[in-house]
Structures are given as C-alpha cells and as structure tokens.
C-alpha cells in the first residue's frame, strides 16, 4: 500500500467562504481555545524503581504510559491540543543542559504518538532498557530546574507554522524529589523564582504531580513557596485564599486519573448575568461549562478533491440560484422572509431586533422565576438537551461567588432547585431551565443547568396495545413477581460509569485511521466486535445465564428457572388468539 500524506492537509487554517458563517465564526472564536500541555519529568534514581503503590510497576513507565493514554484520548476528543514531553536531569546524547526533548510540543499527531508507543513497546518486550534509553545524569552534576523551565517557556512561546497560538498553557510537573539542591542556595533559589514568575507572566501554569508514599512522604513546603503566585496573579485570583497551584503530594496510583482529569480545559459554553431580583439589582455573573458532549465518528474532516493523480484540499460553499433562470444570485439580493399564504413578509433588522431585545436589555441572561422542591421539578422522563455546569465569576459583578455560595448551601440544605429562564447566547431563542445545586458527592461545587422542554416539545403518545383486562388477572401478579426477582438478579451495584464504555464506532474509526497512518498490518481473523466494550458488558449477562443453565447447584439454577417461568407465561399469552387488536384510529371518538 503506497503511503502518501498530502501536505496541504496539514494546514490548520480553517477557511470559510460563506459570508454568513464568517460573522458566526468570529463570534465563536472567542470561545475557541488551543491548549498546550507539557510533561516535565525529573529523573531521580527512584523513578526507575518498581513502586508498590503501582502494583510493582516502574514509576517512570507509569508516567510515560499516562502520556501515551493522554495522547490517544486527545486525538479523539480534543484533537487541537498540543502535547510535549521534556525530561530533565537526563544524560541522553541529544539532551541540552541535561534537558531531553522526548517529543516536541506539537498538536497531537501520529508521529509523536508513535514515538512514545514504540518506546513503551520496546521496553515492554525487553528490546531496550529504560535506563539506557532515558539515562539519568551523573549524580555529581547539580540538578537544576531552571534550564528545563526556560526551555519549556521557549517552546510554549515559539510560533509553529500551521499551528494556532496556544491560549492555555500547562506544565504537568512530575517529581518525587522534595528538596532539590537548587532550592537550598539563596542565589539559585531567587534565580529560579524569577523563572517561575516569568512563566506566570505568560500565563503558563503548573499542575503538580509530587509523588509521595507512606514510606517516603513528599514534603511540599519548598515547592509551595517556589511555585506560589506573584502579586499580579494573586490579585486576579484572590477570590479564594489560595496563593498558588496545589502542591499537595499524591500517591503514584493517582497519576493516571489526575492526568485525565486535569487535561481538560474548561469549555465555556456561555457567560451571562443571573438576575436574582431585578427590583433590587441583585444580579450575579455566571459561567456555564460543557460537561457532557456527544462525539460522533468522522465528524471532523476536510474535503479533498481526488481525481486521478490530482489530490487537493477542496472547499464547499452554498450558492443560491434563481429558480427560474438558474443564474447565480448575489448575496446582496437575498432576503430572509416569512411566507404567509401567498404573501411574503419581510421584517426589517430593526423589527427583528425589537423582538429579540424585548426579553431583556442583556444580550444573554438568566432570570430567576422562583424555587421548587428538586423532587418536584427535576425528572428523568423529560430530558431534551445536554446539561451545563454553572459556576460564579467575578468579572462583571463583584460578590458573585459569595452570593452564589450562599445560594448553593441554602438550596442544598432545603433540597430546592431554581426555575430560571433566559437566553444563553445572543442569537439563541429563550429557554426554560432548572438550576440544581451539585450534590455533596459531586467532584465540583456548582449548579447543573437543565433545559426544561416547552409544552410543544413534549410529544404525545401513540395508541398502542391495550389489554387492560390482563392487568386484573392472576397472570399479572405472577409475572410481576417473576420480573421483580429477575431484576434483582442483575442489579448494577456500581451503577453506570461512562468510563467503562468506550464508543465502539468512535474507536473503530480512529483505529482504522491509526492503522493506516502507522501502516500497521491488520489481523483480519479477529472478530470485528472484539473491542466493543458495550457488547462485552452485555455478554457478561449471557455468561451469567449460561452458567446458571449448566449449573448442578439448585441455588444457581434459580435464575434460569425464573427465566423459563417468565417465558412460559409470555408464550402462553402470545399463542392465544389476539382478539382485541390495538385500538387504532378510534374514529368513533371523533364523532361530534
């Protein structure tokens, strides 16, 4: 198979030729972020040792594994995130100042992914040794943090052709050395402090992975002092009494989950005032974030013109043709109109604006109507959209955090939710919402914002099978009993965890792309649904029933006995002549 990657496709430029979309695009740009994550790892002798907290796995491998996992996740869900990995105190021949660039900071791409996955595979299969491939520097050399931080700052700020500027810059900082020699000397310490301040000036932030264990606890006091924010940042972030990034040590077993959780930048969905009482001008400001999305395979693509040997990026655009003459109509001649019978109604921009602005003086807003008991207003049968997570911000209204914190505690205590309505974006139509405080079990403090369907949005039920006489029968009683027993057999104690179910369609899509890019030979003998976790979980139920069927133990056989009992009722009823057909189209009722 010949392998050729057309160059033009690497360009990150998104080109839109649709004038209407152009303005839309601008509006959205402010919500568009470009993340950069740099893994910054300090080599220490203990990094190469197996760690009991990891079931004996080598600590450095766990970190590289999490880098590998992170990139595979990002390529699916956040493909425009840049990832790099810099290892310091390293004597690799390519290292400068003992700083080794394992992969440069670039938007996730198959080359860097391959570099890391090949490395891990080679080590796993003992083709190479970790300490040879990533060797620690001579212990006589002073271990210095400054060079790597300077290097990271440079890579963050360096413009990369074809890559958008980074808007969100994070250093994932891994070490298990709590007292580097650099900190003990006053000069080097103040030098380091300047480097850190410099990073903060460029909005480069730290996420720390200070690995400690019961045997060897990590004392974070030195790092807490070095990494605390300068005065500039402190002011902006003064709303909690924090003074810097969290430096709390973690157990090695949390590395992966912490990487996963902190990789995300918070996707702002909307930002608007929440009006609690307009009479008193009691208004706070809130941010809404996306917490659940629906990733669809193949939804991110570019168009290619492929004709014989010619391969080029193509663009699509909409054109309007006169229905009679077929000539292209210039945009300036186009109008958006309402049709009313045989007449055409065109509202002026001003009139359209009047309708929109009639709801509120604010372009987007949420307005409190009142409070209801959560039990009474939040249901599982009328969901219509993805929820948002709402937290206060202090940008527009000072006091927002304290006010919403008080509201949060109060609503939590009283088990209440707020009914609110509003527009989340300037051009969106108004909606009705339930605002519910997150529970005490939740990771985050804030409110969930659920859209409430309008009356027209709750659809009606069709006429369907109705054999109401059966409900009065003994069959109903027995079958209910059997069903209850069966339900108890398959109770999910751990409930539902999204992380247990990778989307098979999405996985398949990316697997095909990856195998093509990396030219991996595909083993066709494997069944297609092998990697389908949704099916695997369902098959656990098959297995459970099968084992009950084969069991000699009377207790084990109960499951199958109940299933057979259920089926005997089902079959008997189904084999009966269906005498009362569904009451469809009862026209008699419409007789007026």
């Amino acid at each position: 198979m010949s392998f050729e990657q057309p160059d033009f496709l690497k360009s990150q430029l998104t080109q839109t030729r649709d004038d209407d979309k152009e303005s839309d695009h601008k509006k959205w740009r402010r919500y568009e972020a470009h993340d950069g994550i740099v893994f910054c790892i300090q080599l220490t002798p203990t990094m190469y040792l197996s760690n009991p907290d990891l079931g004996g796995k080598i600590q450095l491998l766990e970190i590289l594994d999490s880098l590998n996992d992170l990139m595979s996740q990002l390529v699916v869900v956040m493909p425009s995130t840049a990832v790099g990995c810099y290892i310091y105190n390293c004597s690799h021949p390519n290292a400068e100042d003992n700083v080794y660039e394992l992969i440069p900071l670039r938007d996730v791409n198959y080359k860097n992914m391959k570099r890391v996955s090949d490395l891990l595979e080679d080590i796993e299969q003992d083709r190479i040794l970790l300490k040879d491939e990533i060797p620690i520097a001579d212990p006589n050399n002073p271990i210095e943090l400054s060079p790597v931080l300077i290097k990271v700052r440079e890579t963050f700020l360096q413009p990369i052709e074809g890559q958008k500027q980074l808007t969100n810059k994070k250093i994932f900082f891994f070490t298990d050395d709590d007292k580097p020699a650099e900190f003990l000397n006053v000069d080097s310490r103040s030098r380091l402090r300047k480097v850190v301040d410099d990073l903060y000036d460029y909005y480069i932030n730290f996420v720390t992975f200070f690995i400690g264990s019961e045997d060897k606890p990590f004392d974070d006091s030195m790092y807490a002092d070095i990494l605390k924010w300068g005065s500039k940042i402190n002011e902006a972030q003064s709303w909690l009494s924090s003074h810097g990034p969290s430096t709390n040590p973690i157990n090695a077993s949390y590395i992966k989950s912490k990487v996963k959780r902190t990789k995300e930048i918070k996707r702002i969905k909307f930002r608007c005032p929440l009006m609690l009482d307009e009479r008193a001008d009691l208004v706070v400001s809130v941010n809404g974030y996306t917490i659940v999305s629906h990733e669809i395979p193949g939804s991110k693509y570019k168009l290619v013109y492929a004709n014989g040997s010619v391969r080029r990026e193509a663009y699509s655009h909409r054109e309007y043709l006169d229905a009679e003459t077929g000539e292209a109509v210039d945009n300036s001649q186009l109008s958006k109109v309402y049709t009313f019978g045989d007449e055409i109604i065109e509202l002026t921009e001003d009139e359209n604006l009047k309708i929109q602005s009639g709801y509120s003086e604010h372009e987007s807003f949420l307005k409190l109507i009142g409070f209801r008991s959560t039990e009474q207003c939040l249901h599982y049968y009328d969901n219509i959209d993805v929820p948002a997570f709402v937290v206060p911000n202090e940008e527009d209204y000072a006091g927002s955090i304290k006010t919403l914190a008080s509201l949060y505690r109060t609503m939590l205590f009283k088990k209440k939710s707020a009914m609110v309505w509003g527009k989340l974006r300037p051009n969106s139509p108004p909606s009705m919402f339930v605002l519910t405080p997150s529970s005490k079990k939740d990771y985050n403090q804030g409110f969930y914002l659920y859209k409430v369907p309008f009356m027209e949005e709750v659809r009606k039920l069709p006429d369907f099978l109705n054999h109401s006489a059966l409900i009065e029968s003994d069959d109903y009683k027995v079958m209910s009993k059997v069903t209850e027993t069966l339900i108890n057999f398959f109770n999910l104690k751990n409930g539902y965890r999204p992380s247990d179910f990778h989307n098979p369609a999405l996985q398949k899509h990316f697997k095909i792309l990856r195998e093509y890019l990396l030219q991996i030979e595909v083993d066709k003998s494997k069944p297609e649904d092998e990697g389908d976790e949704t099916l695997q979980k369902v098959k656990q139920i098959y297995a459970r029933i099968a084992s009950s069927a084969k069991s000699d133990d009377v207790k084990q056989q109960r499951l199958v006995k109940y299933l057979k009992l259920w089926n005997s009722f089902y079959n008997r009823l189904s084999n009966l002549e269906v005498d009362t057909k569904p009451t469809k189209n009862k026209k008699a009722k419409l007789n007026l």
């Binding site: 890559q163 193949g298 193509a314 001649q333 007449e343 006091g399 505690r409 403090q445 109401s468 069903t483």
Partner: protein, 609 residues
Amino acid sequence: MSELTCFVVDVGSLSGDQWLKAFTYVEYVLLNKVQSQRKTDYVQLNLVNVSSSDESLPVNNMAMLPVLPRAPISISDVRSWLGQWYDERNNTTGNGEDDDDDMLFNGLLISVLKLKEFVGKRKMKVKIVVFSSQDLQNVTDEELSTFADQCPFDLVIADCNDKQGHQESKHGNWLKLGTPLVYGIDELIQSVADPKLKLTRPIRTFQGQLRLGDVNASDLGIPSLCINLEGVPGTKSVSSISRKVMRKEGSSEGQPTYRAVKSVIEYQIEDQSASTSASPKKETTRKDDDGDSGNNTGPRMINVSKDFIKKAYRYGADYVDLPMPLDEERKLSEKPGLDIRGFMDIDKLPRHYLCSESMYLVPDSKNGSKGDFLGFVTLVDSLIKMKRLIIARFVPKFGNEVQMCSLFPVRVHDKDRNEVRLLVLNRLPMSEDERNSAFPKMCESTELEPEDEAMGQFVDSMNLDNDAQDLPWYESDQIQKYTDVALEQSSLPLPQREMFRATARNPSAIPAISLHRQQQVILECVHQKFIVGKRDQQDLNIPPMSKMILKKITPKYNADVSLSNRIKEQFNVVKKEVSVQTPVNIEQEFEEQDPELLDLDLLLARGAR
C-alpha cells in the same frame, strides 16, 4: 378529517367594543387558516342583519362570503370579507329591537341548509359559530326544536352582550337549539390571546426487541427474556418559524418583488497553476492580474465536480485521506435492538448523565402480542415499585452507532383514567463524551452557615410549589395520548381546553416562548400591513408578549425588596463598570482561569473510594 368553520355574525346586534372583539376573533381564525393553507379546512363568513341584500339569497339583509365555503383562503379573501363587515358595522338595518326585521334565525337556517348542500355525503367536522348579543326571543319553541332536529352540525354561540346584561337565563333560547357551546365573547378573545399549541402526530422511529440474555441461545437450552417494542419521539426541540431565502428585487420604489431561489452546494479548489507556473491561464471568476500578490487577494478558485470530492478525516494534527476499501470498513453493521446491561437504583444515576432528547418506548403495536403487553406492563410496574431503571445497549436502526442508554419507567393516565405505561429512553455519555474538569470551590463547607439566613428567607419567599399539582415521581401531567389531545383540538380556538387545564398550574410547563412571540408578531404584521391596509407603513407596532407566557416567566417575588437589598449588601454585590470591553476579557480569561485552586487530590481520593 376535513373541517369547516362557518361564522354567522349578527352584525346589527353588535355595538361598541363588542363589535371589535368579534371582529378580532374572526380575523385571528381566518389568518391562521391563511397561514396553514390546509386544503381541507373550509371557511365561510355569513353576515346577517346588514343593510344590503343579496338577491340570490332567500333571506334579506344577509351576505354569504364567499357563496360556497372555501379552502384554502388567501390574505386578499380575508381582507375583502372583513372589509365588507367593517363597512356594514354602522350601516345596519336595525339593532335587533325590531322583531320583524330581525334576520338572525333565518340567516342561521339558510346557513345550515346551504352547508348541508355543500357537505353532502363528505365526512366533515362542521362548526357554526354565531356572534350575537340577542337570544332569539322572537323565535318560537317549535321553530327552535325543528332547527335542533335538522341541524347536524356543532353550534358555538358567542354571547356578545355587555357584562351587565349577561345572565345564564338569557341563553335560554340558544340552549333549545340542541347542545350548543355557549361562551362569552371575552372568553373567546382570551382563547385567541393564549398561545395555540401545535400538536404533532407520533411517528414510530424505532422498532425492535428489548432483550435480557442471548435470544439466539435458546436452541442450547439457555433461556432469555424478550419483549417486542416500538419507540416514538418523546421530547423534541422545536425550532422557530423558519424564514425562506428569496431574491428581492426593486425595493427602491414601490413594493419589492420576491422570486424563489434554489440552494446548491458548490465545491472549489485553489487554482495552483496560476501561482506555481507563469503560464497564462484561462479566465476564472476572480480577477487576479498581478500574480505576486498571492495571499493578499486570495487564490483563484476553480469549481470542481462533486463526484471527485471525498473526506479526509482528522487525526490530531493530521488529516487522513483513506483509500476506498478502508473507508468502506468504517461503516457499521449493527442491528436495531435493546440489550439490557442491568438494572440500577434511580437515585444512583446522576441526572446530568442524561444527554439527549427522550424517546418513548411502548409495546409494539403491529407485531406485539398479549405476552409483550403483559411482559412490558409488569416490567414497568416492577421498576416503579423497586425505584430502578434499566441500563441498556441501544441501536436505533440498522447501521447506526451503538449507544448506552437508560430506560426510565413512567405511568400516566389517559383521559378515561386508564393507566398507561411506558419507558423513557435517554442516551448516556460514553467514555469519550465525559468532560471532566475540576472547578474552584465556592465554599469550604457545604453545610448551612449563619450568614445564609437572608438567602434562606429569599428562597422560601419565592416558592413555586404551592400551586403545583403533587404528582408521584413516575407520573407526568404533560405525557398524554395523542388521540386524547387531538380530540380537543380543532382549528377553532375555544376557551379552557382540557389539555391546558392540567398544565396551567404546573410552573414548569410553558409554551415555546420565541415560537409564539414570532407567530404573534407575524400575525400583527399581517394585520397592520395587509388587513388594516397600511401596506407601506414603515413602523410595525410590536404587540406585548402573551399574558399567559408572561405570567409563567415573571419572578414570583413574595418578599419585600428590602430582603434582596440586604443580601446585596451582605455580599457586596456590585456591578463592575470596567468590563465593558468584553471580547478582550473573555480571551484573556482563557489564559488566566486555569491555575488549579482546589484540593484535587482529596477529591480524587474521595472518588477512588
């Protein structure tokens, strides 16, 4: 079924405001018919007790507009019929005082006779709506009962009396005309002011089995459970009234004209030959005389055929142009069905996991048996009893993506108080869909603090539950059977429809705000520009929002404003004036917001437990 609405207006008896109310009601109904353009929705406007007479009619002082009921109708129909009524309003023979001249009953009789002729053997839902302030005092009981026997149509009487004279007893003679519905004109006016809900017929979108276990293993003696189901949309977003793109011509003087356009998608590529080689090329649409300007003017584009266009999928920073056979492999071959993964306590499923529109699942009406019915009913009832829901693997249609979803039990009542059971399906997020983030904490402790006293009063004061109906957790007042609601609905808006009654007190049930607002403004626009006739009038008077909707979205302040002032002072809530230049701020915010403020590790530890 076809519908026919015949308005019989006793023009002579209507005076003052009463005249305008009847006029407004009829206009509203007519305009709605213009808008819907239904070919089976006939209408006729009969004016009686007017000054002129139509020679072709056996009754004097009457006009039938048009002579035969019409469908669909146009704006100009409405304009001309209402125009005649308008001209006649002060120009009538009498005001019904003079019994001999009163033509109302005769007009009504003629209307019925003509309608019977028109309808013939066709199946048609016919309503005659009478607007009058009199009550047929001059008609004998015999005549009335003959009418009742002879009139096969529904009769709606709009009593246009002023309030003072309005008494139940005065309806006496009307009630002898069979079983008419009698409303005061004010009630009718209210019913057109209320938003009219559009009803959508349920259409099956899923048909398949709900399975527990492997249905193919029965040959091996391994049993499973299987119920035949069908699914219809449960919740579905409504969009606003869509606008059509048209070509507008000649707007400078007089009325612009509009022409239909069709929309096509065109594909283009950059003309690389222009920049890479110096050879002259044939003219293209874009002018590009100096070749070196390159990026500034943008490259020249060439239209290409759709047949050669394909997709290059994104893989991180790379875009992959898959060869055909591999692209084919991307296709899915999943068969429709629902496989149960297990059951779980409802309280344990975070509500924010529900992330799609809902689907109603009911026993299959075509292939379902009594066994499917009872299997389904007992399943729903057991789930309700045990407060559990189903987690299932779902494929809606052949070749669709696999989803994980929850099936929630619901039991509601139909209009005959029969219990109706269903499962409501919602998509759940999968691993790739979860957006885990860590947010800064708002407060150290989630327990109530002494400083929350004012907030507590505030929350209590705005309680909305007082009026709401107290329903069990598995019941909804909005999930109804289509036929139950359709029964009530006709194109004629009448007061207090049953479907509203249940939901009127539900604070969470409101009509689609912007949809009705748009509809209201469009109707007003048609009224002002086409009916009243100020076609070239520039300023449209935008009417106030519907009272019914306003009432539902107006904050329920029950406490004095001083309470809110106290909260405001307590937490120093102040609007910051600086942040007027928002766009800049938002961009900056992305850069600033991230420092990790909270004790993530504690949370992680808690999550791991």
